[in-house]
């Protein structure tokens, strides 16, 4: 899932690939509030997981966002 999230951030949000690590924060990636709303929509439409922009904001790092997406995908599968 990390690779999928990374691909999304690189292709859709033009984040330099080397900046996307599990420890990177939204601030590190220079993603602002408009981006986060877009990211929630992209995660839904492209990765099939419903998470809200508020949830993304509350999480600190890419790793945490990936874990939340994985848990939502698993819930959907169950």
């Amino acid at each position: 899932m990390f690779d999928q999230v990374k691909n999304l951030l690189v292709s859709d949000f033009k984040v330099p690939p080397n900046q996307v690590t599990t420890a990177a924060t939204l601030v590190d990636l220079e993603l602002d509030s408009l981006d986060v709303v877009e990211l929630a929509e992209a995660v839904d439409s492209k990765l099939g997981a419903k998470i809200s922009d508020d949830e993304i904001f509350e999480l600190g790092t890419v790793g945490e966002i990936v874990r939340l997406i994985e848990s939502r995908v698993k819930q959907a599968d169950d």
Binding site: D12, F13, K14, V15, E30, S33, L34, V37, E38, E41, S45
Partner: protein
């Protein structure tokens, strides 16, 4: 006011030289447009070679509608042409004035489709930043660290010319030292084309797009929608001279007026346009007999061309050569006044008048010396560029050679 930098992105080319060569060749840019299949008009003038990756900041680019992307590239080119280092300027003394009619129509149409097909939760958070017409001025200010006044001017097809005129006022009044002024437009969406078609102003030569835009020709049947951006760098002459800038031409006068006649139809005698031209000449302190060339608005609609021609005959008579570069570029709407201002400056600078493409038989109601066929070599000191917009807006710019 000195014009020290120029940038154009249009269907005629991705830079000023390519545009100039294309309009001088008289080769139309109109062609079949796959995005318009099924509509009443299935062709347009569309920029085919625009590469958004040429913009320096891809993260900013993804937040720009195409109308702002084009303007940003043209602005970047104009600043480079002016030899201005934006890392080493006082941005608070720089103004941005951009003409635009419709804002980010492409984004608006896309997001409306998403709203209809999905629901509100899928509408992009970037809709407003991409759609709002003023965002082009905001994004240019953001890109180049411009913290002086940044605004748009909306007078439909006259927007680009009015933006240049208003930028000149800002410079004249001392509110800024450098102005980025021009116009941009992208409204080639099926919905906008349908709207234009319903107004009966578009050419319907679907079987032969290249012959569709034919200003002043007896067989013209309407305008051809296009897209593009044109940006000029303006400075007071003494400032430009002091920094030994290359001066392309002098913006000598500006005049604007309103018809107060009809929402889209020009006043039948062209009295509004005549007032705008005379006001610009007065502003320039130049008599009409000194004007040897006019880059006409010349849209290729039946009404515009005849009314404009009558005005030009009354004001200038037969001694002034006239061209319309829309035969090649199509009608770039809010960008037209700026792109054509640049063509007018190049005509003065190079002593060459681009021909009016597709003009094979002059409308008998047009009693003017309209350049057709091949470019005409002619040394010209003073020229006028005209613009008229839906809403009854008229504007004229007077340029002189360096």
């Amino acid at each position: 006011m000195a014009v020290t930098g120029m940038g154009i992105v249009s269907p005629a080319g991705s830079n000023v030289e390519r545009n100039w060569n294309r309009v001088c060749s008289g080769t139309p840019t109109a062609m079949a447009d796959p995005a318009l299949i099924g509509g009443p008009v299935t062709f347009s003038c569309r920029i085919s070679d625009f590469d958004v990756d040429c913009l320096p900041n891809p993260r900013q680019t993804r937040r720009l509608d195409r109308f702002a992307q084009l303007a940003l590239v043209a602005a970047n080119d104009a600043l480079a042409d002016a030899g201005i280092d934006t890392n080493d300027w006082n941005g608070s003394r720089v103004a941005v004035v951009i003409g635009n009619g419709a804002g980010g129509q492409t984004s608006l149409d896309d997001q409306y489709r998403i709203l209809e097909e999905k629901d509100h939760s899928h509408v992009s958070s970037l809709l407003l930043p991409m759609f709002l017409p003023n965002m082009v001025a905001g994004q240019i200010s953001l890109s180049f660290g411009i913290t002086g006044p940044a605004m748009i001017v909306g007078t439909a097809c006259a927007s680009g010319a009015d933006a240049i005129g208003i930028a000149r006022e800002l410079l004249n009044s001392g509110r800024c030292d450098i102005a980025l002024a021009g116009g941009t437009e992208v409204m080639l969406t099926p919905m906008m084309v349908a709207g234009f078609a319903r107004m009966k102003v578009l050419s319907t030569r679907n079987s032969c797009p290249t012959s569709a835009s034919r200003p002043f020709d007896r067989k013209r049947d309407g305008l051809v929608l296009s897209e593009g951006a044109g940006i000029l760098v303006l400075e007071r002459w003494k400032d430009a001279d002091a920094r030994r800038a290359r001066i392309h031409g002098i913006l000598r006068g500006y005049g604007a007026s309103s018809d107060a006649h009809h929402v889209t139809t020009p006043e039948p005698r062209g009295l509004g346009l005549e007032r705008a031209i005379k006001s610009a000449l007065e502003d320039a302190e130049i008599g009409s007999s000194a004007v040897k060339h006019v880059n006409a608005h010349g849209t290729s609609t039946r009404l515009n061309d005849v009314i404009e021609a009558q005005v030009l005959s009354r004001v200038f008579g037969q001694h002034t050569s006239v061209t319309s570069t829309k035969g090649v570029t199509g009608h770039t709407f809010g960008a037209a006044g700026a792109i054509e201002a640049i063509f007018t400056i190049l005509t003065l600078q190079r002593g060459l008048i681009p021909p009016t493409a597709n003009l094979t038989e002059l409308d008998p109601d047009v009693d003017l010396d309209v350049v057709a066929g091949v470019p005409r070599v002619q040394e010209i000191d003073t020229a006028v560029s005209n613009s008229m917009g839906f809403g009854g807006h008229n504007s004229a710019l007077v340029f002189t050679r360096m």
